[in-house]
């Protein structure tokens, strides 16, 4: 059962720091922290009690820290995008928000050592650092590639950079790292490090491009997708993406509970805004 440990809590914001184009936020979440796996997300109410915004906002959990009896914390990396995320990133510390989590699937982590390549686009790097820690703790090699339109939109904390074996940065405007896209640098890195599995998180177009490369090199590709979500808990059917099920049948499946982390091979990419032929209703 998905969301087995999900709780709805009132959570205190205990740190709010601007980092480049993003805000790094830390929330007190009590026992919730102990149930968080890399790739999970939280849904947060925005705008306060008389808000005109009725839906929650979804954010990947950047890291979680279980501190036992003294209660755990989770960290988020949030881009001030529209009204909801702008409200959230402008909250003073000491504010409380209503928050539900941990939600969704997490990255599958092999018990043996692997040679892993982690690819993030924009704030999509957020969940990758927690993942990198777990992989490293199991003795795996971790290479990381982060891409964004411009330098300010690369989120890569120093501890995070240190904890990986290699870190490559690309920007569309060349303001940091390689001038270009992540897909431009992946083949070389895969070949150089004999990567066995790709973990990715970022815009859908980027994930599609990575999937193509994973296909070509015959690598496993676990990606965290992002579709507009109204509920985040599987009850509204707005967040669907076309996924191939075990019987080979394409179904519009809920990315909030069948995802956000899905097997890249199962996603029908580039549907150009229509439902792929032969798709059936989801369960």
């Amino acid at each position: 059962m998905i969301n087995k440990y999900a709780q709805t809590i009132k959570s205190e914001l205990i740190s709010n720091k601007k980092v480049g184009a993003y805000h790094h936020l830390v929330f007190e979440v009590g026992t919730m922290a102990s149930h968080v796996r890399p790739g999970n997300f939280v849904a947060i109410s925005v705008g306060g009690p008389t808000s005109s915004m009725v839906l929650r906002r979804a954010f990947a959990i950047h890291r979680s820290m279980d501190r036992g009896a003294s209660g755990g914390v989770i960290e988020l990396v949030v881009a001030p995008h529209g009204n909801g995320s702008k409200w959230l990133t402008s909250l003073p510390i000491g504010s409380y928000v209503k928050l539900t989590g941990p939600l969704g699937t997490s990255f599958g982590i092999p018990t043996e050592q692997v040679r892993a390549l982690l690819v993030g686009g924009g704030y999509g790097s957020a969940p990758l650092f927690g993942l990198a820690e777990v992989l490293k703790s199991r003795g795996s090699r971790v290479d990381m590639v982060l891409g964004a339109s411009t330098a300010g939109k690369i989120y890569a904390p120093i501890e995070g950079k240190r904890s990986v074996n290699s870190m490559t940065i690309t920007t569309d405007d060349g303001s940091a790292g390689v001038h270009g896209r992540v897909s431009d640098v992946l083949p070389e890195i895969i070949e150089r490090n004999s990567c066995e599995i790709i973990y990715s998180c970022g815009p859908m177009a980027m994930l599609a491009a990575i999937s193509e490369i994973a296909d070509k090199y015959n690598l496993i590709h676990q990606c965290a997708v992002e579709e507009s979500m109204a509920c985040g808990i599987g009850i509204c059917m707005t967040c669907v993406i076309p996924l191939v099920d075990d019987e080979g049948q394409i179904r519009m499946q809920r990315s909030c509970i069948a995802g956000p982390v899905v097997d890249g091979e199962r996603v029908i990419w580039n549907t150009g805004g229509s439902i792929p032929e032969g798709t059936l209703g989801a369960l």
Binding site: M1, T8, S52, V54, R56, A230
Partner: protein
């Protein structure tokens, strides 16, 4: 004396009047992770159709001021998979069940009713007639008293007399009370008021409609005044019919408003998206409000706003 919170639709009794709204509770399972479904009057299932449907392309939602648009397009697994999976699960968890059905033809409605007639454990049928009629230029069944009645009639003829039928109406009509009357004449025991209003958002970045399906259904607190009006109008026209009210109910006070306007039950939809435990919180708040206002039973409060104010029969 203890407060009597029970309500009734047709011949079916429910321990309390708070239900989920069709299409806003998944298959029940997903919500059960947040509260015990037995706490609700009943779970209203997503509208189920004859065949599996993949629905409309994404994006399927757009937030609007105090509301949202959705264009799910009745995605679903079809009646057979639904009966094989969802119903047994709900029964195994002792949830009371109202099955919502939807069709594209009158024949679809008849077929679905017949198919459900043999299924045990269903408390009522909600008949979603706010769907495009493929045989009539895609005009929504509930937009016309004749097609609305035809759909209800098809259900009534194919299901046991004791099964309550709740006809779910679209507010996008000139005279909702006339449609309601027509459904009742055709055999509906109750009306579900209201389905979403047709709306649209244009994304000013792409300068194109935001939803994959272009238009979508508007729900949430924004539409509550429309829903209260519809309930009040239909209650005035049909004093003894059942009414399941919905549209933007987010707390106990909102639910009370609809009850006073004439609702015998309340479905909670969009509020659950923003707060998974909303239905249970609303149930508790409504009960406390009714008690604090001096009502001895829920039934006493239904339609209370229709009384003559000068008679001054106010509670307390």
């Amino acid at each position: 004396m203890t407060f009597n919170f029970a309500t009734q639709f047709g011949k079916s009794e429910f321990p309390n009047p708070i239900f989920t709204a069709s299409g806003c509770a998944g298959s029940g399972k997903e919500l059960a992770q947040f509260f015990d479904l037995r706490e609700l009057g009943a779970v209203v299932t997503k509208s189920i159709m004859r065949k599996p449907r993949s629905g409309r392309p994404t994006p399927r939602m757009a937030e609007t001021p105090s509301g949202m648009l959705n264009s799910i397009g009745l995605q679903g697994p079809g009646i057979e998979e639904f009966l094989a999976h969802d119903i047994p699960w709900l029964k195994a968890h002792d949830s009371r069940i109202i099955v919502s059905i939807a069709g594209e033809t009158i024949e679809d409605y008849a077929f679905l009713a017949k198919r459900l007639n043999s299924v045990a454990g269903i408390s009522a049928l909600e008949v979603n007639i706010s769907c495009p009629n493929v045989e009539n230029r895609g005009q929504v069944f509930s937009c016309d008293p004749v097609t609305a009645a035809a759909a209800i009639d098809a259900v009534r003829r194919n299901i046991s007399d004791t099964m309550p039928i709740i006809a779910k109406l679209s507010p996008d009509v000139t005279d909702i009370a006339a449609i309601a009357e027509s459904c009742v004449t055709a055999g509906a025991d109750a009306l579900a008021l209201i389905n979403t209003l047709l709306g649209m958002v244009i994304d000013t970045n792409t300068m194109l409609p935001k939803l994959g399906g272009k238009t979508g259904g508007l729900s949430g607190p924004a539409i509550r005044p429309i829903a209260v009006r519809a309930i009040y109008q239909v209650r005035a026209r049909l004093p003894h019919i059942g009414i399941l009210g919905m549209g933007g109910v987010s707390n106990g006070n909102d639910a009370l408003e609809m009850v006073l306007a004439g609702a015998n039950g309340i479905s909670v939809g969009t509020a659950t998206f923003g707060n998974p435990t909303a239905p249970v919180e609303i149930k508790n708040e409504l009960e406390n409000l009714l008690i604090s206002k001096g009502f001895d039973s829920f039934a006493e409060a239904v339609g209370f706003a229709h009384r003559d104010p000068s008679a001054n029969r106010s509670k307390n």
